[in-house]
């Protein structure tokens, strides 16, 4: 949720850009396309009530719109701009006041003194936002002091600066500062809105905002109480002292000097959640374990070839290795038969022996086809009768008709199946009888029978099967699998995303890449020889030397290790940027491991000094947004840190400060909103959250500077 306390909807002064003009409709559309949910309209010396009301009506509950004005203050020779923003409930009265004070001047000529401002607007309990320092034309320090001293609401005087960094710096020096868009061109608003301040605490209304601004403890505690939290009772230390903390479903920070027991607190938190059955462990940076975590050596790496539509070819490999030659009928049998024509009278009478055998395979195929069709139809009929979706889609009449047609079809198919079966078996019987009679005549007469087959069919079928098996294996090993890419994390805007890539390749017979390892441990040489042999078998399936190649296959060392094509797989795993292999440094390893931890969906994140080995820029640009995103999703994030970028920029809902002084260890609990850290053993012992964090944390002052982006008035 973002806030913009300074916008223009109309070109009021002659120097205003025309692109400041925007209709109520366009204004609402533009704002709703951004994350801005609180916006103040502050035109130069003008308040347009009609437009305000139209915008307010259109926005409804989606966005709070606050009425305001940007006044030209001219006082004691000093000139500057002052925003006066009031409650939307007072818009009409505010409009009348503006009309009254500006009635004798144009927006260009109108000026006002601080006293006049106070006289006209202070009764509205407004928020005063004064252009400050680099924000020109700025209100002088003298006029600002006058405003602060004379107003009834000094806590509602805020300095407007030019950007988030300035705001943060002024906040760190005790100045309430904020910045708004001061938009000149609405076409650029959406882009500009990304840099507007975030609201860390929910703001219900203008009045609520003013109370939070004044650090009203009741208001802050009410807001904090609205947030889901739980009280943790921990025993983190050896002395059995109890630590009670309120853990928010948000960011909770433990900070303090080294050696003050922060890690013990985190471990106690992890133990607490683990005992409740919640996945919680303390994340510690260990950059040297990146390869191990990602299993770069592929110890547990597997791949399911079925999901890649790759046949494992288990039967095919077995059949190929067991393949043998089929004998053919010697032609001498024919010669002998014709040379010794039988003279036996009885033999001559047995005509059956002279009938030519019939071809069986087409009759068998016909039976198989009708058998398959009948089975599938019967199965579908059963499915149709049982499946509730079918019954929902078809009414009774339709269902009956479909069942009738399919039943008729099944009947015919069964008839065809039977006919083809009997036809096939008829041929089998005939051929069997011919063979039997020929053998019998041969046996009884001593004369050779006419051979029933040249042996060509069986010979050819054997080779065809070898071709099919070899082709299936080659087809499998020639299938490419896509590189599996896993996002490891971002290495920042310069380098981009670090990926972890896993490449699977089948040994093609020509692969020599040393970076590829055997997935199953089968020797790479064995794999290579195997694939080359199978390719040769396929190439020579119908050549005279086929069985030499099959013998070569069986003679490969350790060939028995290859039972499926899975054993022919090679792989390599590596980190990469833009597809190119990349070795992340230890700092980069820390970066991506932390991202991985935060990218895992959990209820509780416990991070022990996540900043270790990481640069400030990376913490600010990547880690802090990730932590905040987890918090926004309602997760509990516990962080022990020395880094101000994390402790300050995340504005934790709960802060535990550990300190070791002359009297031993002390613990303080608080938050940045009340700006207090309270010793639970002595409520009078309080510390200033901002001062302690600036003093204790590395980069404290700078972090406060950066933190202006998140609006909090410390």
């Amino acid at each position: 949720m973002k806030i913009d306390i300074h916008t223009h909807t109309r070109k009021c002064k002659s120097g205003d850009a025309p692109s400041r003009d925007i209709s109520a409709v366009d204004f609402c559309e533009t704002i709703l396309s951004t994350e801005v949910r609180i916006i103040a309209i502050t035109n130069h010396n003008v308040f347009d009530l009609d437009q305000f009301e139209e915008i307010e009506t259109r926005m409804g509950e989606d966005t709070q719109v606050w009425p305001g004005i940007e006044l030209d203050v001219l006082d004691g020779g000093s000139r500057g701009h002052l925003l006066v923003i009031v409650s939307p409930m007072l818009a009409k009265e505010f409009s009348e006041a503006v009309q009254e004070i500006t009635k004798n001047s144009s927006p260009d000529s109108f000026t006002v003194t601080i006293d006049e401002v106070l006289a006209t607007f202070d009764a509205f309990n407004p928020l005063y936002v004064a252009h400050y320092k680099q924000k020109k034309p700025n209100i002088s320090n003298e006029l600002l002091e006058m405003l602060e001293s004379k107003t009834n609401n000094p806590g509602c005087v805020v300095k407007e600066v030019t950007n988030s960094i300035s705001a943060g710096i002024y906040i760190s020096h005790g100045h309430s500062s904020i910045y708004g868009s001061d938009i000149h061109d609405w076409l650029k608003y959406e882009e500009f809105s990304h840099d507007l301040p975030d609201l860390r605490l929910p703001v219900d209304s203008f009045e609520h905002f003013c109370l939070l601004l004044k650090k009203d403890p009741t208001t802050i505690n009410t807001v904090l109480d609205r947030k889901t939290s739980e009280d943790l009772v921990l025993l983190p230390f050896d002395d059995s002292s109890i630590l009670e903390i309120k853990a928010f479903n948000d960011i909770n920070v433990v900070f303090g000097p080294k050696g003050t027991g922060k890690t013990c607190i985190l471990k106690a938190i992890a133990k607490h959640y683990l005992e409740s059955g919640i996945d919680a462990r303390v994340y510690e940076s260990a950059s040297d374990r990146l390869d191990e975590i990602f299993d770069i050596k592929g110890r547990d790496l597997t791949i399911n070839l079925d999901t890649h539509s790759i046949n494992y070819c288990s039967d095919e490999i077995e059949a190929l290795r067991d393949a043998g030659e089929i004998a053919v009928t010697g032609l001498s049998k024919y010669v002998v038969y014709f040379a010794a024509k039988s003279t036996n009278r009885n033999a001559k009478r047995i005509m059956l022996k002279d009938i030519e055998p019939e071809e069986e395979s087409s009759a068998k195929r016909e039976f198989s086809e009708s058998n398959e069709a009948a089975k599938t139809t019967a199965k579908f009929l059963e499915f149709l009768n049982k499946n509730p979706s079918m019954k929902k889609e078809l009414d009774t009449k339709e269902l009956t008709e479909v069942v009738r047609i399919l039943s008729e079809l099944l009947k015919r198919l069964l008839k065809r199946e039977w006919n083809s079966f009997s036809g096939w078996k008829e041929i089998c019987l005939l051929n069997s009888a011919i063979r039997a009679f020929r053998n019998e005549v041969e046996r009884k007469t001593g004369m050779p029978a006419k051979p029933t087959t040249t042996g060509f069919r069986d010979y050819a079928m054997n080779r065809i099967k070898i071709e099919i098996n070899a082709a299936k294996i080659v087809n499998s090993v020639d299938t490419k699998t896509a590189i599996q890419t896993e996002l490891v994390g971002s290495l920042g805007s310069n380098k981009g995303d670090l990926q972890f890539r896993t490449e699977f390749k089948f040994q093609s017979g020509a692969i020599t890449d040393g970076a590829l390892s055997s997935l199953t441990g089968v020797k790479k040489g064995t794999q290579k020889k195997f694939v080359n042999c199978v390719r040769n078998i396929l190439k020579h399936t119908y050549a005279d030397d086929l069985f030499q190649h099959i013998s070569e296959l069986n003679e490969i060392d350790d060939v028995e290790d290859i039972k499926t094509v899975y054993e022919l797989l090679l792989f390599k795993r590596y980190f990469a940027i833009d597809g190119q292999p990349y070795s992340p440094s230890s700092g980069e390893s820390s970066m991506v491991m932390l991202q991985k931890e935060l990218g895992t969906d959990k209820e509780v994140y416990i991070l022990d000094e996540p900043e270790r080995s990481l640069g400030n820029e990376y913490i600010s640009d990547v880690i802090v947004p990730l932590i905040k995103e987890r918090a926004r999703a309602g997760k509990k994030v516990f962080i022990s840190t020395h880094d101000a970028n994390i402790a300050v920029r995340t504005l934790p809902y709960s802060s535990v400060y550990r300190y070791h002084g002359q009297e031993g260890y002390s613990t303080y609990i608080g938050n940045p909103f009340t700006n207090n850290l309270v010793n639970p053993d002595d409520e009078g012992d309080q510390l200033d959250w901002k001062k302690i964090s600036m003093r204790t944390l590395e980069g404290g002052e700078k972090a406060f500077g950066e933190r202006g982006k998140i609006y909090g008035n410390n």
Binding site: E325, A327, V328, G330, L331, S332, Y334, V335, F338, A339, E356, P357, E359, E360, S361, S362, R365, K450, P451, T452, T453, T454, G455, F456, R457, Y459, A460, M461, R463, I464, E467, I468, Y542, A543, D544
Partner: protein, 100 residues
């Protein structure tokens, strides 16, 4: 059926003899296939079968003996080719089934 779509290709075969050795010579148009009849030579028969299989891959065909004489080897060749044609037809059907 293929046979209904186009006429079956016919390949000629003859009975040849050379140095008292008789063999069936099949002219495929691409290469010559010889099947020895006067001696059992399984390797030569297999070699001939390999060529026939390769020829089937180019399309179904039947072998026709040019001249059927009354001598022994013509009778053997005739019977052998009758059986071979039947088996060629079967193998072609199986090949089609397997999509080869």
């Amino acid at each position: 059926m293929e046979r209904e779509g186009k006429s079956m290709e016919i390949i000629k075969a003859t009975v040849e003899s050379l140095d008292d050795k008789h063999f069936i010579k099949i002219e495929t148009g691409i290469e010559e296939i010889n099947i020895p009849m006067s001696e059992d030579n399984p390797n030569e028969v297999k070699s001939a079968f390999n060529k026939i299989i390769n020829r089937i891959k180019g399309g179904e065909f039947q072998i026709k003996l040019e001249e059927i004489k009354e001598d022994l080897f013509s009778q053997v060749a005739n019977e052998y080719i009758i059986q071979l044609n039947r088996e060629i037809q079967e193998v072609h059907g199986e090949m089609k089934e397997f999509g080869l």
